[in-house]
């Protein structure tokens, strides 16, 4: 959850989330270095002490200004690839759930629980109680157990949506006719919000995601209750 006036990445509740934050900090440091170097160079060149009288070639200069950008790109690219394959790596899921995007709500089906099917609509701003979060609250949130490997299979019924949870550093596209698989694991119980991240029509900004991580007992009670409803 983001505090007000927050501009950093939010706290992550998964191992991969920590890795993503570290990589983000590293690549941002590289970018700040490049920006500072370029600003200093442009400031030096603006002094107008230098007049070009003749153009000469320099192989060493050309080599240097090719090598350094390539070096910087590789130093950013290698950890990025490592992280990407780590996220997609083989992962045994104890539970499987299916997330289906519709215009303009999400529905959750339990892969392991045949009768579990639930739709999640946004609570309108007029119906909010004091203290609730605008454009984030839903009527039925997704309840999952914490400290459990959960496999999520995300798809869409109509147009492309994107299932996002910033606190878990997750963003998976919901593409119609395709099942995208993502693994989720939360260290601790908690309540996490997200929003649809792929433009999908008129109410794209009004289809939030709310996931609650609870203990197994609460989770099983919830699933049983929803299956009966």
């Amino acid at each position: 959850m983001y505090p007000y006036s927050f501009i950093q990445l939010t706290d992550s509740n998964t191992f991969f989330g920590h890795e993503i934050v570290l990589f983000h900090d590293f690549s941002l440091a590289s970018l700040v270095f490049i920006l500072t170097a370029v600003l200093l160079m442009s400031k030096a060149l603006k002094k107008k002490k230098y007049v070009v009288l003749a153009y000469k070639g320099s192989n060493m200069l050309e080599f240097l200004w090719t090598f350094f950008p390539v070096f910087i790109l590789i130093s950013i690219g290698l950890p990025s690839l490592y992280l990407m394959y780590l996220l997609e790596g083989s992962f045994k899921g104890d539970l499987t759930f299916k997330v289906v995007g519709h215009q303009w709500y999400w529905s959750y089906e339990g892969g392991d629980f045949n009768d579990f099917d639930m739709s999640s609509y946004m609570v309108p701003s007029e119906d909010l109680q004091e203290g609730q979060f605008r454009l984030l609250e839903v009527d039925n949130s997704m309840v999952l157990p914490y400290s459990t490997n959960i496999r999520l299979m995300i798809t869409s019924y109509d147009v492309i949506h994107s299932w996002t949870l910033p606190s878990l550093k997750m963003k998976v596209d919901a593409v119609p006719g395709r099942l995208n698989t993502m693994n989720i694991f939360s260290f601790q119980p908690g309540s996490f919000y997200g929003q649809c991240s792929e433009i999908c029509g008129l109410l794209h900004s009004f289809m939030p995601i709310h996931v609650e991580f609870v203990n197994w007992e609460t989770f099983l009670n919830h699933v049983t209750e929803e299956s009966f409803n």
Binding site: P3, D11, K48, V51, L128, Q188, G190, S191
Partner: protein
């Protein structure tokens, strides 16, 4: 003809001011792309595509293509001993080849002041309009989720759900004593 008139007029607005803040030599006008001329007043002796800058300080062709009159005499004297040329003659010869000196090019121009001034005028009009609407066309107050009570309640909710327990609100809340750390 209209575009060249506009170019000359704009150039005069930008380069010439009632108070000269930079020391500009009176015999010459610094302009982009060479000397500024109207089509009907175009001097056939001047090079229309003359361009000089810090990255191209010595152009291939001079500013004056054809030397006539006094300039022709000076050109002949240039071949001989330069000590016979007065300072004014040397300056005339220099001005006939170049449009501006290196010092003039390095000095920069004060176009930005006109642009900045015009921007400030437009911005001030916008601000005045905003102030007018704010004072006289004020909409009625509507509750928002950014009201102080609502924000406090939402922060309390975040603390109760232990959201942001590393860098968020929960990390700054003392749960044992029920107050901020």
């Amino acid at each position: 003809m209209a575009s060249s008139l506009l170019r000359v007029a704009l150039h005069r607005v930008v380069s010439h001011r009632s108070v000269h803040l930079t020391k500009v030599r009176p015999s010459m006008v610094i302009g982009f792309g060479g000397p500024v001329q109207l089509a009907e007043d175009r001097d056939p002796n001047l090079n229309p595509i003359f361009h000089e800058s810090l990255t191209n300080p010595i152009p291939d062709k001079p500013r004056t293509l054809k030397y006539t009159g006094d300039l022709a005499t000076l050109k002949e004297m240039e071949v001989g001993d330069w000590k016979k040329l007065s300072v004014e003659d040397q300056m005339d010869l220099y001005n006939s080849f170049f449009g501006a000196s290196i010092a003039d090019m390095c000095r920069g121009q004060d176009d930005w002041k006109s642009v900045f001034g015009a921007c400030m005028i437009f911005i001030s009009f916008g601000l005045l309009l905003h102030l007018f609407i704010h004072l006289y066309i004020n909409p009625p107050y509507v509750w928002t989720t950014l009201d102080e009570d609502w924000v406090k309640a939402s922060i309390k909710r975040q603390i109760q759900s232990h959201a942001g327990d590393i860098t968020g609100y929960s990390s700054k809340w003392d749960y044992a004593n029920n107050r901020w750390k």
